[in-house]
Symmetry: C2
């Protein structure tokens, strides 16, 4: 008998659905090994702040990420408690690093505002 995890299709489909967006998938990769705050995402994706918030909400609604408020800022990170965490990590491992986006931010000094 294996200890293979088994997901219900009804539950798995919505997970794939939220991952099926370039912005959200990139967000997941960005927080693979660190936390990011909303203002960083806004800078990185050059997208309005509400749009970023809405993407983050979708990821949070299915439990893939969690938020942590630090003063004015809200930091997002992978939710290690999610039943999808191990599965998620195995997917993220197969995606190219997005570090350069954060490095670019630091160069522009945009990361210093909140971190």
């Amino acid at each position: 008998m294996t200890t293979k995890t088994e997901f219900q299709i009804e539950k798995a489909a919505p997970i794939f659905k939220v991952l099926g967006d370039k912005t959200r998938l990139t967000m997941m990769k960005l927080i693979e090994n660190q936390t990011c705050c909303v203002c960083e995402f806004v800078e990185i994706f050059q997208m309005s702040q509400p749009s970023i918030s809405q993407h983050l909400r979708k990821l949070r609604d299915v439990g893939l990420i969690k938020e942590e408020r630090k003063g004015q800022w809200v930091f997002y990170s992978l939710n290690h408690e999610s039943e999808w965490f191990v599965f998620m990590k195995s997917i993220l491992e197969q995606l190219p690093s997005q570090e350069e986006k954060l490095i670019e931010l630091e160069k522009n000094g945009a990361r210093i505002t909140c971190c």
Copy 2:
């Protein structure tokens, strides 16, 4: 140096998108180890034939499945040539078998019409 496969995010997101639908994800699981024809899907999902064809087209458009005509019927199966094949198999392994849907069909004699 590992032989880890790496997917571009721009290419990966559309794959997740097509998998982010209960019907299509179930279709993928159904053809994990066998081929199915359109009329079988119509019976299984109790959905109109055009709707089934459109779902299959989306899976085919991203290269996840391939079709093979046998007489009047068109059979669909996993596309082993897809760069996503190994990845796809690892996902399907984690989903529960949908065999009972095919067994149900046979019981009803609905599978005999084309197979």
